[in-house]
Symmetry: C2
Subunit: 276 residues, 2 copies
């Protein structure tokens, strides 16, 4: 299929594939970009992965994921910095265009949302110089408010930009993920404001009724409620012309044959996501 030049397969969409299988799957499908996850990357080894990615001629649109910066206490803070430093080295090792940060939810038993947000701000400030030294761009991912309590206290693109704007756009960008931002009445204005800071554009659909495990509630583009072309248009109007990554957490998608998932993903991308 032509028209797939900017399409990137986020590994999570084909969750049963190893990284090597995902690389081969991208090549077989005529894709030129992949979003990599840390666990399969560590399974393969960074050097071996870097070589395989280069041999395949694939761009790495993102490494998923660092973050989880909200735990209380200095020890937890040091642990978070150490783990994210490792992620930064991995991102540098495979030439990832950004390291996606999912900032973490409320610590167990805590109701102090402003406090958790404050720790994200403080620990991000510690990470930025480390990432800068390794030439890695950090990408703050605002998450749908369904995940504020247990996954990501950064709930809107506006809040992500408030944090990011303390830093150079090449050091700290943001992720625009349709699943997380589509509902936001401010999405037009905030995507416009994000010009120069969009480090990653990810797509998947919001489906109803939500599956019982809401973590796995993401749909294939076109399945349900999101107007992708409108959001793609906004992102492009903000100057973003980079890869468009498909990241789907969904038990049914994961149970299907990964090659068929890549085919469906490519078709739906052309049908629903790209403009013009």
């Amino acid at each position: 299929m032509s028209g797939l030049e900017r399409l990137s397969l986020n590994q999570k969409t084909t969750n049963s594939w190893t990284l090597r299988e995902a690389i081969e799957g991208c090549v077989a499908a005529g894709l030129s970009s992949i979003g990599v996850w840390r666990e399969p990357l560590q399974d393969m080894g960074v050097d071996a992965a870097a070589k395989a990615l280069a041999d395949a001629g694939l761009r790495v649109s993102s490494l998923c994921r660092g973050g989880f910066l909200t735990a209380e206490g200095d020890g937890a803070g040091r642990h978070a910095i150490a783990d994210n430093t490792e992620a930064i080295l991995e991102a540098a090792g495979i030439g990832a265009q950004c390291l996606v940060l999912v900032v973490g939810g409320l610590p167990e038993g805590s109701r102090d949302l402003p406090g958790a947000r404050g720790r994200v701000r403080d620990r991000l400030a510690e990470l930025v110089p480390i990432a800068h030294d390794h030439g890695v761009r950090l990408a703050l991912e605002p998450m749908h408010p369904i995940f504020t309590a247990d996954r990501g206290v950064l709930a809107t693109l506006g809040e992500a930009l408030d944090l990011a704007e303390a830093f150079d756009p090449q050091d700290v960008g943001v992720v625009v993920d349709t699943f997380h931002v589509w509902w936001d009445p401010q999405v037009d204005a905030q995507i416009e404001r994000a010009a120069g800071r969009i480090a990653s554009y990810q797509v998947c659909d919001w489906i109803t009724p939500l599956p019982a495990d809401t973590l796995l509630s993401r749909g294939m583009m076109g399945d349900r409620h999101i107007d992708f072309r409108r959001l793609t248009g906004l992102v492009e109007a903000a100057g973003y012309d980079g890869d468009i990554e498909v990241e789907i957490f969904n038990a049914d998608v994961w149970a299907a044959d990964p090659s068929e998932v890549v085919t469906t993903m490519s078709e739906r991308y052309l049908q629903h996501v790209v403009t013009g």
Copy 2:
């Protein structure tokens, strides 16, 4: 128990009770306010309900609910206006302090979120003079973004205020429901901005993991993640000193003995919700 002067039982919390039973339950528990739902009100009849409420000396903190303004087409629009006019008459008939409006989700098969929001704005403008003529205050309820697709395209307090501000605060107010707004990074500023427009303050908790039916995912105050005292403080700083309504959609709560639910609710209210 003393300290319950502002506590209101939203009928939905004791879902198995008829309106007459709920009125008796409030009196037995020493409460002086109730939030009424339309279906049980219609079952009892507005005149009978008005007499029973007056005899019991109960305030009616809200009537739930009108709204559902997003369907496409003129016929659907007329139907929505007619149904809401009926709700306005019911609210007037029992002296409800406000009629809560849940604005509705995307029409089946539609991905046009800006269009749905536009219909809410237009149809609200039709309803306001009708409500005004009957002395009923409309209360726009922003809903958690988990419900944007299928229940309420009004996703934030800021968006509700943008709509409300076209009208007199006595005609159009907003609902601050902790479940719907607790995650919002702008919640402090928007509650402050809502001064004079807070028509209803509702409380229940955000619980994780979310129950399989997310419509029934609301918890008893203190169960999980929300810092109620902080939000109550913000609402009071904005000048709101009215009733505090407990509205819980939860299968476990509904399966319990309603009298015990009211007792637990009163205890948790004193423990977690009221300030000072």
